[in-house]
């Protein structure tokens, strides 16, 4: 038992490493990994297991066992003959529907036929003779002539273009490689190439030859089952791909939020990096769209009602709102059209995100990275090479994030989700509490905080404020006019910054929890502070604040006056700024 567990763990480890890398790199891998972890066997009757050796509490009598054995054998027989029957049926269909004289061999798996090379299979067709060398089929003649053209999947492979017969050595082509072979005894206009006596088309397996049941269904009827049954149960390691994908979105947002708040603290949005900041916000908006559409795809209750609520935002706008909502959904309510387009967009948007990430990095490389002091680079001693310094620094932190990600994915994969999304979508039953995923909670709280129709409808206020809460971040370079970039040298700004962090956490809590009177009031205060912080407080602080003196250079801020200590006696000190003590 122990041994088995160990062997299992090792195999799983390999698989999991592959899985984690995949999920991080691509995020949207759909194909199954080759190895199997506790995977169920796709075809039911591959093992007959009549011996029933596993000890079970049920007391099987001898007679019962015999009966089972008989049933197993019978079933197996039926399956195999059905496979060959089906493949013969297909061959007959090809023959019957062909405009020319054509013969064909297909098999669910030609390897199951007792043939070594493909010529052995071909000799079953009328008018095909094979040449043998040492008993093994090597080449073939059609109607007695060896001038046979050969195509591979319809494209020229080897053709008898002179009077001699030039044919591939069929002995080197194993039968198991092919899904079927067609023999054309008379050419048609659509064929690219043909021989004098006939043409042999070898058909190999294609990537999409898999059973249709093994792919995701983006249909309103099938989506929930295809995720929760096929991917989670039947596809090998499908549960890993799905949980890694689903939690990968959450961890993408976690690192993005850390990145955004760090940018806010160190003033990374200020000149000359405004463009970097704005491209970053575009990435953030695209991420939100991608994550929302991905959440809709399993078509559970929260998926459906989330789509209903979020597309409903647009209907708040007078006159044009409702037509926009219908246009976005492709109908009056989320249904097949919405699901299909969300599926396409969920696949498309990550590529656009990747493109904007390239622009983001490009825009960054013009002024270069900022730094915690916010002081510009003066000379080379202020800088360090990216490798090994920043690869090492980012490397261990990336490892730490992956570690938490792995813990959540493997041990609490549904912790960040909502139980209602394991109930199939039902347009007639609204969940008790509709909540989006956690990364939207602050915005959801802002949306819900507007409860009074004051000049405009409350819903429209909420929607405008929610969109505004993100759009105002684009105006930050003009709202915060302080010439000092880093919050480390801005004592008043620093306090308000931490207040903002607490404020956003409160908004997040209120957005995720069911509403009651005090949560509503708390959310309203927090939402009001959010707008006041960016639109009123930040401009005022930047106008009236007296920042601390800045260090003369980055290197001076890092070396806390030790330069002077280390300098030989009598020489002038290399530094000595009072501000240096404030940093880090």
């Amino acid at each position: 038992m122990q041994q088995k567990f160990l062997a299992y763990s090792v195999r799983n480890a390999l698989l999991a490493v592959v899985g984690t890398t995949l999920a991080l790199a691509a995020g949207a891998a759909c194909a199954g990994t080759p190895a199997a972890t506790g995977g169920t066997v796709p075809a039911a009757i591959t093992t007959s297991g009549p011996a029933a050796t596993t000890p079970t509490p049920q007391d099987d009598t001898m007679a019962k066992k015999q009966e089972n054995k008989k049933a197993a054998v019978q079933l197996q027989g039926v399956t195999v003959s059905a496979g060959i029957q089906a493949s013969q049926q297909r061959s007959i269909d090809i023959k019957r529907n062909a405009p020319n004289i054509e013969d064909s061999i297909t098999a669910v798996n030609i390897g199951e036929l007792p043939d070594v090379s493909i010529t052995d299979s071909l000799q079953r067709l009328t008018g095909v003779q094979i040449d043998r060398s040492a008993g093994e089929g090597t080449s073939l003649s059609v109607r007695g002539l060896p001038e046979v053209g050969t195509t591979l999947n319809g494209l020229p492979f080897i053709t008898a273009d002179n009077i001699d017969s030039i044919q591939p050595n069929y002995g080197t082509l194993p039968a198991a490689m092919f899904s079927g072979v067609d023999v054309f005894k008379s050419p048609t206009a659509s064929m690219l190439d043909s021989g004098i006596s006939g043409t042999v088309n070898l058909r190999t397996y294609q990537p999409f030859d898999f059973n249709p049941g093994w792919s995701v269904t983006a249909s309103a009827e099938g989506a929930f089952t295809s995720v929760n049954q096929l991917i989670m149960r039947d596809v090998n390691a499908g549960w890993l791909l799905r949980y890694a994908h689903m939690n990968g979105a959450s961890f993408f947002f976690i690192v993005t939020y850390i990145h955004i708040f760090r940018g806010l603290y160190y003033g990374s949005y200020k000149a000359p990096r405004e463009l970097v900041w704005m491209l970053g916000l575009v990435i953030y908006l695209l991420m939100m769209a991608t994550a929302f559409m991905g959440y809709v795809l399993p078509w559970g209750q929260m998926s459906y009602w989330g789509a209903q609520v979020i597309t409903g935002f647009f209907s708040a706008f007078p006159l044009v709102g409702e037509p926009i909502r219908i246009w976005l959904l492709g109908g009056y309510a989320p249904d097949q059209a919405a699901l299909t387009r969300f599926f396409s967009l969920h696949y498309l948007l990550p590529f656009i995100i990747a493109a904007v990430v390239i622009l983001h990095i490009w825009a960054l490389h013009i002024p270069g990275s900022s730094n915690p002091t916010g002081v510009d680079v003066k000379d080379e001693k202020d800088t360090l090479p990216f490798h090994p310094f920043y690869t090492a620094k980012d490397g261990w932190f990336a490892g730490g994030v992956l570690l938490v990600y792995a813990i959540v994915t493997y041990f609490a994969p549904n912790y960040l989700g909502h139980p209602d999304n394991y109930i199939p979508a039902n347009a007639l039953a609204t969940p008790a509490h509709i909540v989006p995923e956690w990364y939207f909670w602050p915005f959801y709280a802002i949306l819900r905080s507007f409860t009074v129709d004051f000049i405009l409808e409350a819903k429209l206020w909420g929607v405008l404020a929610m969109f505004g809460s993100i759009l105002l971040l684009f105006f930050l370079p003009w709202l915060d006019r302080s010439p000092v970039r880093s919050g480390a040298y801005r004592p008043v700004f620093k306090r308000f910054f931490w207040l903002l962090v607490i404020d956003v956490l409160i908004l997040g809590y209120v957005g995720g929890a069911p509403l009651n009177w005090w949560r509503t009031a708390l959310g309203q205060i927090a939402a009001a502070y959010y707008f006041l912080h960016f639109l009123v407080i930040l401009p005022l602080v930047s106008a009236f604040e007296t920042p601390l003196p800045l260090p003369r250079s980055i290197s001076e801020s890092v070396l806390h006056g030790e330069g002077a200590e280390a300098a030989p006696a009598g020489s002038s000190p290399r530094g000595g700024s009072t501000a240096a003590a404030v940093v880090q």
Partner: protein, 310 residues
């Protein structure tokens, strides 16, 4: 522009203030009456299963007992649409037993008569999922007083509280007339179950359409000799539903340990490497001579001027 933006901010904050004041005024003037469904609703009882915790493993004996309860009691109304018979191998049944279970299943699989093309049924195969007890939603509602018995495949993932909720619900049916909350308060008349519903404080709105499914000890006879009390049967079937919702739990955790250990070692090594790499750059006392960053910069400049790489 800052004045315009500041004005917008003040307007939004003002509207929020008006909203808050009007909400609080409404709350003070007519405080909402507490709902019976909030007052008398109970959180699930604690339930401890072998599969709990990060080191938990499924107890196949218990899962088989739970499967027995499902097949003899629950399956009369509830489907298990996402689970196939062949999946039962995961809880310790052999292939032969699974074939037997499938072909003996009380509901047959819908099919087509190969001779006439008319609708027919056939015996289930191990590759089939558990056939639903009712042909469709209309049939299910017609047979159950217009209530739809939900599919149980994902039940423990689809409810707040998971297995503990299922266990509490199955054992939580009580008489609404005798029921008292923890303060000894009886149920108000309007919260009492109407005709055809059953009182259960663990259910969200207190009145559930499902009649108590496990009514007496010994309702099923366990082959392994475990005493089939109502509590035991409820526990077993809850454990079974944890398995149906998450059949790969064991292998997921086994893989998780390997990954976490791998990443832990990698991260610790990365952290030490980071300190090693940065030791020079973060050194507290500035070095002199060849290691002085200023001199290093000079060297780099001189090298660059001469076109020497590195």
């Amino acid at each position: 522009m800052r004045f315009i933006l500041g004005f917008i901010g003040a307007v939004l904050a003002g509207v929020l203030l008006i909203s808050m004041i009007s909400n609080l005024a409404t709350y003070v003037q007519n405080p909402p009456a507490p709902l019976a469904s909030e007052e008398f609703h109970k959180e699930p009882k604690p339930l401890h299963l072998a599969s709990d915790g990060i080191f938990g493993k499924f107890d196949n004996q218990q899962l088989q007992r739970g499967f027995q309860v499902y097949s003899e009691v629950c399956s009369a109304c509830h489907s298990l649409e996402l689970v196939s018979f062949r999946d039962l191998k995961g809880i310790g049944y052999s292939d032969a037993e699974i074939k037997k279970i499938a072909s003996d299943w009380k509901t047959q699989v819908p099919s087509i008569n190969p001779d006439t093309g008319e609708p027919a049924t056939r015996k289930a195969l191990p590759s089939d999922t558990f056939p639903a007890p009712f042909a469709n939603e209309v049939a299910a509602r017609a047979a159950n007083n217009n209530a739809l018995p939900p599919d149980l495949s994902l039940m423990t993932k689809a409810r707040e509280g998971g297995a503990a909720y299922v266990y509490s619900l199955l054992t939580g049916f009580t008489d609404a007339n005798k029921y008292r909350d923890e303060h000894g308060k009886p149920l108000p008349a309007e919260a009492k179950p109407p005709q055809g519903l059953h009182f259960n404080p663990y259910f969200a709105n207190l009145n559930i359409a499902m009649p108590p499914p496990l009514t007496s000890d010994g309702q099923v006879t366990y082959a392994d000799g475990t005493k089939p009390t109502v509590d035991q049967m409820a526990k077993d079937v809850s454990a079974f539903l944890v398995w149906t919702a998450e059949p790969n739990l064991d292998s997921r955790r086994a893989a998780g340990f390997a990954v976490v250990i791998f990443l832990l070692i990698g991260t610790i090594l990365g952290y030490f490497a980071y300190h090693q790499v940065w030791a020079d750059a973060k050194r507290k006392v500035r070095v002199t001579g060849a290691l002085d960053p200023e001199n290093q910069a000079k060297t780099r400049r001189a090298k660059a001027k001469q076109g020497v790489a590195g």
